[in-house]
């Protein structure tokens, strides 16, 4: 699987206000992804590239959803791959997509439901002929569904995986950029004070300790460095969401929705 943060983020700037003549906003969801793909020569390669890209970005939530739906690893894998092929190549799902379903994240989910139904009708539990696929999809090691997720509903696990994938992407991207820009200390402080304590359920070290560890004399300076990293993450988050949002307003809405989801989940768990 390929993962190229420099392709997906970086200098990408896109107006998402364009309406395309075909498929309306739903088509536009996919269209917005084109700009992430470089060096695509032909239509054939374009499709291939798009499938690859969507797989790379969104396979986890789809796969988790399918697993929680009851499919085993192989079946889930198969369906994931088939789904993205279907979305790109046949456009049926896209064209039939219900605009009222709103954001891309939820649009994919509903398209996925549609796809599963179709496959069931076509006895989709049979293994498909891999030759029909443009892009092969190999999970090196199947993701063990974390315990917390295994208790979530399929839709919740889809959202969970979607969000985790998003967080992984933006954290990785910002880390890379910080290192490139000679801001290793910035990133370290942010990791030590914010990320690690959250992910490991530990108390963050004191500012004084952090400063000493990183060789910074001034706590205020350390605080500013954290703010700087935060801003970069916010920007990365916006860029990530902008691809799938139809307007700037939607970015915030999408984010708020995700935050709501987690609040709910936190209560359940």
């Amino acid at each position: 699987m390929f993962c190229r943060p420099d392709v997906l983020f970086g200098a990408f700037r896109m107006k998402v206000y364009d309406q395309t003549s075909m498929g309306g906003e739903a088509e536009m969801f996919l269209t917005t992804h084109w700009s992430l793909i470089e060096d695509v020569q032909s239509e054939h390669n374009k499709d291939k590239a798009l499938i690859g890209l969507l797989l790379d970005r969104y396979w986890k939530p789809v796969y988790c959803y399918l697993r929680r739906k009851g499919y085993d690893n192989e079946q889930a894998k198969d369906l994931t791959q088939g789904f993205f092929h279907e979305v790109v190549l046949n456009r049926n799902l896209v064209q039939r997509a219900d605009k009222s379903k709103g954001h891309f994240r939820t649009f994919i989910l509903h398209a996925l439901d549609q796809y599963i139904l179709n496959e069931k009708r076509r006895q989709a539990t049979q293994k498909r002929n891999p030759k029909g696929r443009l892009v092969s999809f190999d999970i090196i090691s199947p993701p063990a569904l974390p315990e917390a997720v295994s208790r979530l509903s399929p839709e919740d696990s889809y959202n969970y995986a979607w969000t985790a994938a998003m967080l992984d992407k933006i954290l990785s991207e910002v880390e890379t950029r910080c290192l490139e820009d000679d801001m290793e200390i910035h990133w370290r402080i942010f990791q030590d004070r914010i990320v690690q304590p959250i992910l490991t359920d530990t108390e963050p070290p004191s500012f004084a300790d952090t400063c000493e560890k990183c060789g910074i004399e001034d706590q205020k300076k350390a605080s500013n460095m954290i703010t700087t990293v935060k801003r970069r993450l916010q920007k990365a988050l916006r860029d990530y969401l902008r691809i799938i949002a139809t307007s700037e307003d939607e970015i915030y809405e999408e984010f708020s929705e995700i935050m709501q989801f987690f609040k709910k989940s936190a209560q359940d768990v």
Partner: protein
Amino acid sequence: MSKKSTFGARPEQLNRLLSAIGLDKPNADKQSDHTASLEMSAGRLGGQIGRYKLLRVLGEGGMGIVCLAEQERPIRRQVALKVIKPGMDSKRVIARFEAERQALALLDHPNIAHVHDAGTTEAGRPYFVMEYVKGLPITEHCDRQKLTIEDRLKLFLQVCHAIHHAHQKGIIHRDIKPSNILVSTVDDQVIPKIIDFGVAKAVTQPLTEQTLFTEDSQLLGTPEYMSPEQADMASEDIDTRSDIYSLGVLLYVMLTGVLPFDSDTLRTGGIEHIRQIIRETDPKTPSTRLTKLGEEAKKLAEKRRTEVGALSKCLHRELEWIPLKAIRKERTERYRSAAELADDIENYLKGAPLIAGPPGSIYRLKKFVRRNRALVTGIAAVLVVIIAGAVISTVFAIRAERQANISQAVADFLRNDLIASAGPGKVKGRDTTIRSFLDIASENLNGKFKNEPLVEASIHDTLGWTYRMLGELKAAEPHLERALQLRQEHLGAAHLDTLDSVARLAWLRCDQGRNAEAAELLEKSLLTCRRVLRDEHINTLGLVNVLGCVYKDLGRYDEAEQLYLKYIPISRRVLGEKAELTGFMVGNLGQTYERQGRYEEAKHQYLETLSQRDGVRDDEDVWTLLYKSFLARVYRKQKRYKEAEKFYLEILPIQQRVFTEEHPYTLWSIEGLAHVYLEQGRYDDAEKSFSKALDGMLRMRGMDHRETLGCMNGLAVLYTKQKRYDEAESLFTEALEGRGRRLGKDHPETMESKNDLAVLYIEQDQYDKAESLLLEATNGRIQKLGQQHPHTKESIKNLIELYEAWNKPEQAAPWRAKLSVVDDGE
């Protein structure tokens, strides 16, 4: 670094992580607030703000929202109405605008959008009404039309001229960026128009955390175009050079398609990060940036109808120096005005040396060679030009055949040894200069011509003179001294070549400001010549000519006059009326008169020498041009400005063509013209010319040279007239100090600086300061120049004026009496 994935964390942990990052409400919300509030003010679009009817939204920016509106009274027209975003102190914004309104009203330039009006909406938001300009941001226009580099430069020139116009009216823009320069096409004419004059200043706030980021962390303002002083301080101490900086960034982008500092790099740091980059980090050169862009560079080059290689080369050779000079961190190192920036663009377009070029004469010399390709090919040919040039510069009539044999040996040596030692592999880029060739020759010379001292002397002579022509006085000295020594030894003191060396060394001493030593050297030589060769000998006459010049420059006018009056008739008799040397002496006598204020006599001498040259020499003859410039100068001193200007304008283009822009003769003419403008009250033109002359002199002669100091003084006088007192005082102080040191406390030119500085103090009512200076100047002038000299009279008049202004009529009285005696005596 931990690469722990978040996949596996509990949902609640993901929630906390997301909260820690946070995402505030987007701009869109603010903007729709904005629009909503605008609509509240105006009802719907179609409503009114003041007497303007809103038609539609044109766009939104960091400052506010811009609408197309219609004005009905007093005239019906469409305007652009900009409503400033909330969060600004409206009263303060409007007050600041009002402060500039009068000046803005004076802005009348085809490339500046007029600001008509300002006010506050019912909701209390400030708004500005501006000329509606329908066009694209300049960078976008250039890319869409795929303008070549040359076309982009020509477009940029218009912008510079407009900015300069505003600066002259005392208005700084403060927010120059592509979106504030809109290009429209009217009747096939492409017209860039600068918008938002006066608005940025009214609205601008200091660069702090609050002003820099909106609540959702979107960056306000355009740090990419912000000068270091704007980024650093409160915006009170911004001057025109801030705009120069922004213009530099704009030029950078227009040429290369990229910013000097990457947007991402700037905008994803905190405020300190931004400040630090703008203030401290040196931008990469445009050619370097281009080469690092890879594939993107191809597209950028295509938009300029060229290829990456050609574009990079074009930038690297010299074009990129221009934006780089404009975006220097130190404002004193930038162009001094938008006009100067424009001049340099024009210099580039016509192949002239750039102001932004490297220091030293070598670049200029190379430019000269490049511009005269018909004359010269290859490095050897360059050297031939130098040698030939060296020959022309001496004041002796050189007999061609005498030089022929030695010249050949010299030329051979220089060509073979120089180029051979440099070698094709060693010639790299523009750092291999004429200077380095000379250095190699100097080294190679050691011990090479042991048995041919005259050849060695000749080479030393040529090398020394070439160094001197390049302004490398320290390097020149040992060579000229050695040449003289060898020739004295082997040819004797009275030999023409020896005297040639004496004269050259004397010139060098003058260059070094060691005029008194030069006089001594020449006097000694003259004694020998008169004894051995007699007065009628051409060698004696040649020496006399040089010595007279040195006396004149030392302010020893009587001695100079005596010398010339004695030997000119001899020269006429022995060499002829039309002989070069006779002409030189007549011209030098003219200058001696001129220095004494005897202008009519000076004019007579110049006219005479010019008449002798008519028909004999062409218009491009060095000396003809020089005498014409002297004539122009004396006309100016006689206040015959029309004639003076006519002569200057006639000879300047020729001088620029024949010499270089920065040849001393050209610079003298430019400075002369500056004085003509100054005395006619044409200050803008004067400033342009003074600046040009001074820059050239600083580069060619350095700070401490008599001519540079003189030019500085002239510029300071201009500043005084323009009431730029601080700048004037600073320059006067420098000129006075330099002249005192170089020429002596009693020198007439030092007195001049004292007098002029005193006048400045009088203007500022600092009478006590003025008095001591003026007394020194006046008494000094009386002693050195005599009471009849115009400068002496000028000083006396200044003293009278001082005491009258100071309310000390009893002190003025004796001076008034003196003046009437002087006037009666005329």
